[in-house]
């Protein structure tokens, strides 16, 4: 720890911070554009100037490039500092188009916020502005408005330093300088969307979000990306006023949430843009019985009867369950409790090959598209837990040894291709839990519509064994329910009297005796964030 004085307050901060970080640490925000903790220090926007007094000598200097030092006296509000900072702002606005009314970044724009803060209301500009390209697609995902760019070089440094390929650059000199693609290159790296988060203004915008919503109509919850086993921390930004029962896009965008141990400030484009399944037209919304809509009670009653009858006739081994490890720990726990402990079903497997092949990259993406394989393993649903693997179960179905099959979160294409009859023809019944209509859904004896991760709270355990909680952003579509609730209800129909009030109660039960799980403070990460993008540096 070191001690310094910031605006006449004596404060203590951890070692190794620069002055800007130290001030932020104690709640003093120093305006800045080019500095970002995940990138090298450029020191070029000159916005972060402060007065630094050391050994009795005062100077105005950058807070981003000066280390916080014991005994330093920092002032962010002297008349000279305020003049210098206002001066930078004025210069930035000189050639800026001031088209905030049509800019998606309005509300999240540093330039706009600092302008409001420093109240430079009368423009002294008395000359023509430069004009530069306004709508330039820098790559498949991102659009650039050169006139809004403040030339902070964050996006350039991201491509160079974090992804490791030069795709953007600042060309020309003087105030005719512009940020644009490297000649002959596109911004097509698999992390391209991060430059939109980094861009302090509305120069780089997601094609996916452009002109969709004003940001102040969005709310956000903390979540975990479900699209690979890294478990990147994210925010789900959703519409405040959306009537969720109407079809349409409720989740408006995904933003990375800082976690130094997992994803730092970044997420990949697959995670960022891959949320359309949440509001897809193919979502399952109503329980099904023999191809027709049914209500939950009836469908579950039927499912309970099928299970009981088959087990009576053919023994517990005549039923098997295949559950994809995309479900939460709470889902897996309840499935195990019902199928293994209550019903003594011997063959339960989560070892379903994914039909999607992923290749790990140097940053975050792993080669495992399943978000919770590790959690399933920890709970006893992993491939190493003895018994048959998924392929062997399918073979047993084909051999007529299994009469009833429960399939959750997979369409089995990776195991049977499109030849669904090769198994349905051998089964007395098929119970399908799914959030998306798939090739099994319409052939299911009983179809159970499941909520997706954005629709209920829960936990995933990532590839490194970190237990991470995600929260609920929106209501389940239609009558869909979280998977654990489905098993909880089904257990009731099978005569069990379990009382799990909510996901937290389930988590408490599953974490007993597991230190990695018990240490998660359920409430610490709970709650809806006000404001749109709190981790914005």
């Amino acid at each position: 720890m070191l001690e310094l004085t910031i605006n006449d307050r004596v404060v203590q901060v951890p070692d190794g911070l620069n002055v800007l970080q130290a001030a932020k640490h104690v709640g003093v925000e120093i305006p800045h554009f080019c500095y970002h903790p995940g990138l090298s220090v450029a020191g070029s926007c000159r916005m972060c100037q402060v007065e630094i007094e050391q050994g009795g000598r005062k100077r105005i200097d950058l807070s981003c490039s000066n280390a916080a030092v014991d005994g330093m006296i920092v002032r962010t509000n002297t008349p000279a500092v305020v003049k210098a900072v206002k001066g930078v702002l004025e210069f930035l606005l000189m050639n800026h188009p001031i088209d905030c009314p049509i800019c998606d970044d309005a509300g999240e724009c540093k330039l706009q916020n600092y302008y409001m803060l420093h109240g430079l209301y009368d423009s002294r500009l008395n000359v023509e502005k430069w004009h530069k390209p306004k709508v330039h697609p820098v790559g498949p995902t991102v659009v650039l408005d050169c006139e809004r760019c403040v030339l902070c070089s964050r996006c350039v440094r991201f491509c160079d330093e974090i992804w490791g390929e030069r795709q953007l650059g600042i060309f020309g000199h003087g105030s005719n300088e512009k940020l644009i693609n490297y000649p002959g290159r596109e911004l097509d790296n698999p992390y391209s969307g991060n430059v939109v988060d980094l861009c302090p203004v509305g120069a780089l915008l997601d094609k996916d979000f452009r002109f969709q919503r004003r940001v102040w109509y969005l709310k956000s919850v903390k979540s975990i990306c479900p699209l690979c086993s890294r478990g990147c921390n994210i925010y789900l930004h959703y519409d405040v006023d959306h009537d969720y029962q109407r079809p349409g896009r409720r989740i408006q965008r995904i933003k990375p949430r800082v976690n130094p141990d997992v994803n730092r400030w970044w997420i990949c484009d697959r995670g960022r843009y891959g949320y359309s399944f949440i509001d897809a037209a193919t979502r399952t919304k109503t329980p099904r019985l023999l191809g027709k809509d049914a209500d939950w009670n009836y469908a579950l009653q039927k499912a309970a009867e099928l299970i009981t009858t088959t087990q009576k006739q053919h023994g517990p081994g005549s039923i098997s369950a295949l559950i994809a490890p995309t479900a939460s720990n709470e889902d897996a726990f309840m499935a195990l409790r019902l199928f293994r402990e209550r019903l003594n079903i011997p063959q339960i497997s989560s070892d379903i090959p994914s039909s999607e092949k992923l290749t790990a990259d140097q940053l975050l993406l792993t080669d495992d598209p399943y978000s919770n394989r590790r959690g399933f393993q920890d709970l006893g649903l992993g491939p190493a837990d003895g018994g048959m693997n998924a392929e062997e179960i399918i073979n047993a179905v084909k051999a007529g040894q299994i009469k009833g099959l429960i399939v959750v979160g997979t369409d089995l294409e990776s195991l049977v291709g499109k030849q669904v009859e090769s198994i349905t023809g051998k089964l007395d019944w098929l119970i399908v839990g799914a959030s998306q209509e798939n090739q099994l859904w319409n052939r299911a004896t009983v179809g159970l519509p499941l909520a997706v991760y954005a629709e209920y709270p829960g936990t995933f355990t990532n590839v490194k064994g970190m237990v991470q909680k995600f929260e609920k952003a929106v209501e389940p579509l239609g009558q869909a329910l979280p998977q654990w609730q489905v098993w909880h209800k089904l257990a009731g129909h099978l005569g069990a009297d379990w009382r799990f009030d909510d996901a937290r109660a389930v988590f408490k039960a599953l974490s007993a005796g597991k230190p990695d799980y018990e240490s998660l403070n359920w409430h610490a990460t709970f709650g809806v964030d006000k404001g749109c993008y709190p981790d914005n540096w």
Binding site: S44, R46, F91, M94, N126, E128, W130, H173, G174
Partner: protein
């Protein structure tokens, strides 16, 4: 006040660029002596410190002190970069040194490298210098062939590879850290300091950067001894300085004077006074970045500290003399245009400020200025001055402030018309 020819003493021999001729006039004598007597490197650095040899590229930093900053125990290679970018408007003295006496500079380079234990020297040369490039490359080749440079120089075991790197025409690449980036193949953007190049320079290795003229003085220090060299000049500024005088004087050109000579005498005695007997109006004493002086202010010693005390700078020694026919608002516009064009664009204030002031200066010339424009420009200059990565922002701001304050009436006069 006479000229004092030290580094320019062989400028008038047409054959001086040839090795034989140069050697016959004493070239490489000191370099050979350094190697044969195995003079300790530290002793050379000390001698250069004693000589009070100041950086001649503009900033005037004592050369020996700079060499002393290079960490001795570096496990990385160390480099010398010779700044031959000569981009400051009004400056044309390094060109002479390169064209007229390349071996003098090469000897200085060799001695400097020996003193700092450097085995690779880059000469970063202004892109337009085709002729100097040809001449210096020939001189390098000849010196290598004669065993004075290259591998195992004169059987001493000391290697020195000298490489010319041509710039591409950006003024900013004369700034030492922009030069390093450009040399490495990046955009010529100045780097944040610290770290200083002596510690982290070219290719992240310790690097000495010196101007052509600075290095050309080094052989003379070894020849006459540091103290004698210093005594030629003043207490803090040893030796001599080349002045490139242009504009309305009878005899423009490059002149070598002892440090501390008078600016007034340079103009009136050495250069023969104002052309055609006209009245002097203004003098820019150290390249376009140096604040302008009025006729009554030019009786100052040409020396780094005295010039600073007079509110201007010695800079690169480029003296631009303007007589009564000159329109200051027009000169100001031309200067502003230069900086607006040459700002590297990295820092907000310099990128936008230079252009803004340039555009206002155009308006004033077009008769569309308003009296408030002068205070606006002064305030913009204040917001730029000393608040940027490199001194270019200040190099625009300081002359702006001087022009506007010293010739305010002339600017205001254009507004009334």
């Amino acid at each position: 006040m006479p000229e004092y020819k030290l580094v320019s003493k062989n400028f008038d021999y047409p054959d001086q660029p040839e090795l034989q001729a140069a050697v016959s006039r004493g070239a490489y004598e000191q370099w050979k002596r350094v190697l044969s007597e195995q003079i300790p490197p530290d002793k050379i650095t000390e001698e250069v410190k004693t000589a009070k040899l100041r950086g001649q590229g503009g900033a005037g930093f004592p050369a020996g002190v700079k060499w002393g900053f290079v960490p001795k125990a570096s496990r990385k290679p160390k480099y010398l970069c010779v700044n031959a970018d000569e981009g400051e408007p009004g400056t044309f003295k390094d060109r002479k040194l390169l064209e007229r006496d390349p071996h003098q500079m090469l000897e200085g380079i060799a001695i400097a490298c020996y003193a700092v234990d450097i085995h690779t020297a880059f000469i970063y040369m202004r892109g337009e210098f085709y002729e100097p490039q040809r001449i210096v490359q020939q001189a390098i080749d000849d010196a290598v062939a004669a065993g004075l440079l290259g591998k195992n120089i004169l059987d001493s075991g000391f290697d020195l590879n000298v490489i010319i790197h041509m710039g591409a025409g950006a003024y900013i690449c004369g700034e030492e850290t922009a030069l390093l980036n450009s040399l490495e193949g990046w955009k010529g953007w100045p780097r944040l300091k610290p770290p200083f190049p002596a510690v982290v320079g070219a290719f992240r290795s310790p690097t000495v950067i010196n101007n052509v003229e600075t290095l050309s003085g080094v052989p003379h220090i070894l020849r006459m001894g540091g103290e004698a060299f210093q005594k030629i000049g003043t207490e803090k500024d040893g030796g001599t300085k080349l002045f490139a005088v242009s504009g309305h004087v009878e005899k423009p050109g490059v002149y070598e004077l002892t440090m501390g000579s008078s600016l007034k005498e340079l103009i009136y005695d050495v250069c023969g006074g104002i052309k055609g007997g006209k009245k002097l109006k203004a003098v820019i004493p150290g390249g376009s970045s140096a604040p302008v002086l009025k006729p009554e202010e030019i009786d100052v010693p040409l020396e780094f500290e005295s010039m600073a005390a007079a509110g201007t700078m010695l800079g690169s020694g480029a003296v631009i003399v303007m007589d009564e026919t000159v329109s200051i608002p027009q000169i100001f516009m031309i200067m502003a245009r230069f900086y607006a064009h040459e700002s590297c664009g990295q820092c907000t204030q310099c990128r936008e400020g230079c252009t803004w002031i340039y555009k206002i200066s155009q308006k004033i010339l077009a008769g569309q200025g308003k009296p408030s424009d002068i205070d606006l420009m002064l305030d913009l200059a204040d917001n730029m001055n000393g608040k940027t990565v490199c001194p270019l922002g200040a190099a625009m701001a300081m002359p702006t402030i001087a022009f506007l304050n010293k010739f305010r009436g002339e600017f205001e006069g254009m507004m009334k018309n």
